[in-house]
Amino acid sequence: MEFGAAISAALGLMMSLDPGFLGIVSLAVRVTLSAVLLAAVIGLPLGAMIALARFPGRTFVIILINALMGLPPVVAGLGLFLLLSRTGPLGPLGWLFTPAAMIAAQTVLVLPIVVALTRQVVEDLWLEYREHLTSMGLTGFRAIPTLLWDGRFSLATALLAGFGRASAEVGAVLIVGGNIAGYTRTMTTAIALETSKGDLPLALGLGMVLLVLTLAINAVAYGASRIGARFAG
């Protein structure tokens, strides 16, 4: 199929609000947002704790987390596959080839990004605020709420980086989700499959939705952080 015809067919597919097409988009968005939310709930306090705590091996932990930001998705997917497979330690959960496994996989990929960037933001803020907060008796973990709140605009960027990583990821969700039509098929896995089958309109349509979605979320977050920064300083 010609490129122009493929684009035209993709647009037609998007406009028709095809249930199969919308199902793929909906699942991908739900999985990605769930993973980012989970990573935020775990990663923001964890990153802040690592920033403030002093313990043996801290440097190694920081290097490890920084390195995990570049964890290849297929390796993460493979590891999780082994854990979730019937004979694996988490096999009894029965998550393999379900959206839950896909959320877990994306959380594993997003978490190091959130933890590493949170640690950096909180550590920098702590250097600036330390004397004031100590003067008020807010030392150690009691300082965390203040530091996370005052770092909120930088931390929003960390979460966006995590969203970008999760939404663009294909290897891990393919391995643990199985790319089952109507159940675990996301935009990225569908794009890979349809491209290999030669169904370019569907692949292109999904690609365009993915781009627009990423652009929209980034634009909203950027606008919110600019407005917030203007009022917070």
Binding site: Y129, G137, L138, A232, G233
Partner: protein, 244 residues
């Protein structure tokens, strides 16, 4: 706002205080008593240990030698509301001026109504009403220092440690801050202020601690120190000969 009626944490007795880091002694054998009321100026050249002494007294740093004894155990650590500190560069949270005032009060567990009442009083007293919703970090240096003083004041501390609060301000802003410090003094607060501005110390101080090279050279009333200094170092400092 009335001063607290509870028992005083003063006097503060400092005995043989010393602080060393990486084998270098920065303060050595400091002994003095901080009495109740008035402003005690901590004078000395740059690097004499003025700021460090304030931080040790406030509890931000633990001394490596000697001891500090507050009259009440409550005074022992920072963050007990009984003594506060204002820094040379005001540390402003990334929030509005109002939220900066609210933060320490919320940390103390005050309810919303009590916090709002105290903040309204502080905004009025320190002339910050029109700046209340402005981002604190975008205020001018003088406004930030006024806000820092207001923030310390809202805690109704008995003692405020001030680390060269006017060193980065123009004469107009300095005059405003000095007027506020005089009001604190009249209200019965005890102030301990590091400065190398002799004119300011003459205007405000009741007592003087003079440091040189990490040692306390002279402890005297302001009148005695400025008119009849006992030591050669103090005389040299007062005549503008820097000590190293």
């Amino acid at each position: 706002m009335a001063m607290r009626d509870t028992a005083s944490i003063l006097p503060l007795s400092v005995e043989g205080l010393g602080y060393a880091v990486a084998g270098k002694t920065l303060l050595e054998d400091i002994t003095f008593t901080l009495p109740r009321g008035g402003l005690t100026a901590v004078l000395g050249a740059n690097g004499s240990g003025k700021s460090l002494l304030l931080r040790l007294c406030h509890g931000l740093i633990t001394p490596t030698r000697g001891s500090l004894h507050w009259a009440l155990e409550e005074g022992r650590r920072a963050g007990r509301q009984r003594h506060a500190m204002v820094f040379q560069r005001p540390i402003m949270l990334r929030r509005s001026a109002r939220a900066n005032l609210d933060h320490p009060l919320a940390a103390l567990g005050l309810d919303r109504a009590a916090r709002q009442a105290r903040i309204a009083e502080a905004l009025e007293r320190f002339g910050l009403e029109n700046l209340a919703e402005q981002p604190a970090r975008l205020l001018s240096g003088g406004e930030q220092q006024r806000l820092a003083l207001a923030r310390a004041w809202t805690l109704t501390p008995e003692v405020i440690f001030l680390d060269e609060p006017c060193s980065q301000l123009d004469p107009g802003a300095t005059r405003q801050i000095e007027a506020m410090l005089s009001e604190f003094d009249r209200d019965g607060m005890t102030l301990m202020m590091a400065t190398h501005d002799l004119a300011q110390a003459r205007r405000l101080a009741r007592n003087v601690l003079f440091l040189n090279g990490g040692r306390l050279i002279e402890e005297a009333s302001a009148e005695t120190f400025f008119n009849k200094p006992r030591t050669d170092e103090a005389r040299a400092f007062l005549t503008g000969n820097l000590l190293w």
